[in-house]
């Protein structure tokens, strides 16, 4: 490294709206594939560049990131006014191997299903290993990296920042790992000669849509008669606090102070009481209470209180 470079200001120029890495803390909450990616990154022996790359990723220095089939392009803002361009090219699988692997996965719909809902069965890695390839691009030959920065050691800190962000993307969407190796959704979900854009089944012949104005007939206009509906569906399940969240898993990339699931479960818990009363045709107390004027704004007092606390801290 030249002397001039040593004295160059190391502070990169700030980026507005850059992609910020969220996993700044320990890796304990990670999935097994997320941890494997980090191990892979550490295995590259980047030394200080890994740390700098992480700082870049956390600071949001990566201005853009595009994922293609077997390739990743990124724009990273360094210390120089012009941002650098980073490109990764991953070695895709040979057609034969790809076909074999797709077929092997196809025999396990549940694995594909789990991949589609962002889970990665450990068996998939074994499947890759059996086919003689690795799921993770761990070997040097698995990918090639270029960067427009003057640093000639590869991967540079800019590339490390991109790998860092890529790891987070893989963490939340393990299907990316397969994408990088050239296996995409289309390979896994055989479309048996159908048209795109269907809703599940082939659409029935279109029914003519009619209903412009309200009906002129007095009976249809006012309604013939109304008797309260007899049923509004089955009882809520008792065992699960948030069935849809259980089903969907956590919202990826959550950056809130509270835990997402706890927040939603708390809201559900409050809402269910009121909702049951409405369902039962009763007028809930919450609404009667809400009907009254809210009184002195309680939020103001709280805010004042909180500000006082802040001040004492200072």
């Amino acid at each position: 490294m030249s002397k001039r470079k040593k004295h160059e200001p190391r502070v990169p120029l700030p980026v507005r709206g850059g992609i910020r890495a969220q996993g700044t803390r320990s890796s304990q909450s990670r999935s097994w594939w997320g941890r494997r990616w980090m191990l892979m990154l550490e295995g590259l022996r980047l030394g200080a560049r890994l740390g700098r790359g992480r700082q870049y990723a956390v600071a949001g220095q990566v201005a853009a990131l595009t994922l293609g089939e077997g390739s990743v392009g990124a724009v990273v803002q360094g210390g120089a006014p012009a941002p650098y361009r980073v490109t990764f090219t991953f070695r895709t699988l040979a057609d034969g191997v790809r076909g074999d692997l797709s077929a092997a996965l196809g025999a396990h719909p549940a694995w594909i299903g789990r991949l589609l809902v962002n889970d990665l069965p450990v068996e998939v890695e074994a499947l890759f290993r059996d086919a003689g390839v690795s799921l993770f691009p761990a070997r040097r030959g698995d990918w090639v990296c270029t960067c427009t920065c003057p640093d000639w050691s590869t991967p540079c800190k800019h590339a490390a920042a991109v790998l860092y962000l890529l790891g987070e993307a893989v963490e939340r969407e393990p299907m990316l790992l397969l994408d990088l190796r050239g296996i995409n959704r289309g390979d896994l979900i055989p479309a048996a000669g159908d048209r795109p854009g269907g809703g599940g089944l082939r659409p029935p012949p279109p029914v003519p849509v009619c209903a412009p104005d309200p009906p002129a007939d007095a009976a249809a206009f006012w309604g013939d008669r109304w008797t309260p509906a007899a049923t509004f569906g089955p009882p809520p399940g008792r065992m699960v606090a948030a069935p849809l969240l259980t089903r969907l898993g956590p919202l990826p990339f959550w950056r809130g102070q509270e835990r997402f699931r706890e927040m939603v479960e708390q809201v559900y818990g409050r809402a269910v009481t009121v909702a049951l009363q409405i369902w039962g045709g009763e007028r809930p107390d919450a609404i009667l209470r809400a009907g009254r004027p809210a009184g002195p704004p309680g939020g103001f007092v709280l805010r004042k209180h909180r500000m006082q606390i802040d001040r004492t801290r200072l």
Binding site: R185, A191, A192, A211, L248, R255, Q257, A271, V272, A275
Partner: protein, 1063 residues
Amino acid sequence: MEMPLAEAGKNGHNSPTMVVLHGSWLADEWLLWGEETSEVGGGLRGDCDHTPAGDPCVPGAPEPWGCDREALSRALAAFESGGAAERAVSDARIYFARLPANAGRIASSRQWLRRGSAGASVLTLRRVWALPLQVNELFLVLGATSEGRRLAPGVMAGNDMGAWSDLFRLAGAVVARRQVLPGVRAAGDAPDPCETPMPGGVLPDTGYESRWEPALDRAEVRRFTVLAACLPGAALALSSDGASAPHSGDPLQAAAAAFFDEVVDRLVRLASVTTLSRAHAERGRTFSAHDAWGASLRGDTRAIRWESPVEIASLAEEIARWRRSVDLESRSPLHLCFELEDPPGESAPWRLRYRVEGLGQTDEDPRTDWEQAWHDNRVDAAGRESLLMALGQAALIAPIVDAGDGGVTGATLTTDQAHRFMRSDAPLLQAAGFGVRLPPWWQGAASHIQVLARVTAEGSPVAGSFTLASLVDVDWQIAIGGEPVTAVELARLAEAGHALVRFRDRWVEVNHGQVNEALKLWRRQMREARAANDIIRMMLGIDGDAHGLAVAGVEAGGWLGQLIRRLRGETALEPLPPPAGFCGTLRPYQERGYAWLAFLRQWGLGACLADDMGLGKTIQALALIAREREQGERRPVLLVCPTSVLTNWAREAARFIPAVPVHVHHGAGRSVSGTFAEEAAAAGIVVTSYTLLHRDYASIRQVAWAGLILDEAQNIKNPDTRQAQAARALQADYRIALTGTPVENQVGDLWSIMDFLNPGLLGARAAFRETFALPIKTGIDLTARDRLRQTTAPFVLRRLKTDRDIIRDLPEKREASVYCTLTREQASLYQGVLDELGAALKNGASGISRRGLVLASITRLKQVCNHPAHFLGEDGELGGRSGKLDRLREMLEEVVAAGEGALVFTQYAAMGTLLQRHLQQAFGCFVPFLHGGTPRAERDAQVAAFQAHAGAAVFVLSLKAGGTGINLTRANHVFHFDRWWNPAVENQATDRAFRIGQTRDVMVHKLVCGGTLEDRIEAMIREKTALADDLVASGESWLTELNDTDLRDALALAQDAVGEWTP
């Protein structure tokens, strides 16, 4: 609460009006508007249209149609609607409504004027006043609608409101099932891009808003579509400019969806916003876009405030990707299901099959195997993806789905795995929206190990020898699936070490904690002494727990066995001869009712006698009181009833059990405290009203009461009222509730009455609501109604007139006089007429003039007895001013509640109009009134509608109207509101209801004001039948032949006639 009705209609009508409210959806707002319908002239005016004739029907026309804002405000003030009533005056605006019109006249909603079809009509533009409701007002208005379409006297909800309220309740159900996800949407009005950050660190509006969005699975979508299809055109009738808004697809469905979206979000917010979260949403610190979103989700406003709109946009994309599988599923007609099958042999593995619903298989088995569905060429890529995603999600929830043979068509499970699947995975999968079918023997949460109680209680239930506090011996018997097991078998189950064990040729879930409890019980005490009360409670299903094990059943011998079998109604009660002092005859079913009352009384249990009106609840209760007296009871019985029937009770008691002294505690001159206690102690029955029960509670509670009887016990259905609290607090040896309304159908009302009768039977009120009321009302627990019935059935006796063995006991036509009281207003008017007459007689009127004077006075007195408004010829409020009218309404409410029909006869056309008006307001539907002036065509239409069960169950007729040829056999109750005192005329009227083809018997009620001329003439006719035959045929004219003294006696106002007490 203020009375809602306008004393005068806005167009100068002098009569109160009926308001029908409607709700329309317009551009994200729910607008309330209304029709105002006048009640002129006995409903002879057809569909009302307040628009002056020749209204040019163009925008800008001077006179808007329907309710103006004052009328809206009055209607909203009549029921709990938040601040809407006040807002209506200031915030209601003019909108354009497209309404169906017929020959230039708007065809009104006719839900209360329900008559023949109007024929084809065209949409006509009118201007109407409408009020955009705020969220809490909307919730209150729709909540009120779901309790019934009659919102308040004179205020009705239209069919469209009903359909909206159903959608509203579905929104409640969807939220209760937690089919809701948080989301982000672009706000309709984009924020100013140049907006600078506000002072004080408040973040700028991003132009996105947070939303709680319904995430419906296919079943929910189906439910929604069905309810949305019920919305009538009126739900979209309004527009702001008179033009029809552009719609794609079905506009009503779109409006329903928009409404549903709005309501779900508002509902969740309303419930989850707290003072803290509101402050946080408004001014709190946020550290990320997610924080900003999370805060906004729990704020009053939806706007998300954050520095970077781009981040919110990408959050929206993330959320869309995240919930993609749920959206895919709701759109896809394919539905993944799991079916667990019994293994073919004891040691063979279990099979979990993956099946797909929605490919149109046979009705018996609507599902196809996964393999078959996968290769079905009707399934396209999106369908496959949705199936795969569903499978992946199921695997995340229940790892077993992914285990076994790799799972193309299913998985193979060991017995322990199968148990885990049934116990923990299946409910999770079900909750997540997957179809799950388990073997039929699996009982979910129910335990398989139970105890049976075998009770030996020697002796027979001779009165007094045993009480419910007596101890009985209980032998506990361990049972599995209802069958007794031995200790050895139990021990073997415990040793097996599996959660699911084959036992006596079937699968049994073994909970080892329960097995240990059972073994412990075996070792320690299989026999113990318990109070009979405990056993009764077990039998009723109240305490379903003994030593930590569920009680499967109770087998009892001896006296307790007899008691239990009688309570369950398995063995008939021993017939009980009526007491000697009872002057009258009990019909066989009344004897049974009396024996039942005596049986429960013997054990100190409260009884609710809920026989149909007219079956004689009064005399059954009186017989019991007489029996108690004869058995040596010296303490009095407190009988509480509505003011309108006080006289009736006193008279019935005097007639049927003359030996028991009756004290009526009522009126301004009633005694209090010490004096009252003395008077009460001297009496056998103290009759008082519900009002005085709590007013004079301090005096009443000092008396030692033998029994407490509530007539029309539905008066205490609301446990918060003072009278209900007083009734529950009073001490008495036995308690009886009499009611003619089917209490068991009104879950909400049952608790108070039952808690009065048998305190603690249904638990605390909150617990009752939790375990019975809400599950029954929402239908979420289908066993709740049965459990409630099991618990309450021993204490409720309800016989219907239509019961086969009751009909056998009844004569074809029964007549009863119903004694009513006068209000103070009536009494003073009555006295005024008497004074006038007295003065005139003193002045020596004689001959023709005396005759005319007397006849006129009698007519006026009869009018006073009917209603002050009838006498005064005025047009004001009717309720609460006439004892007779109030009593009639009470009785008609019972008739209507029982699904029966009634004819109400009056001899005065003016009174008929008043009756019609009052009953229309009370029942919220058109009540026909047939009188001499009714055109033939209209008369025929009304009669036909009544006979066809269309519209009201009540028909008002003038006594002379129509003469002959009217067939009104739908009615099985006939009320004579005032008397002609001519049996021939009255019988002819009664026969309208009593014709060939009438399958039910007919009950005739003759309303009589006690202590007035009506009462005395009635008595005279009864005593002097000869007189009746000769003279009464000519109506009232024979009264003019009486001399002054006799006349004064006949017309005088007795002290006890007034039934109203004012401080």
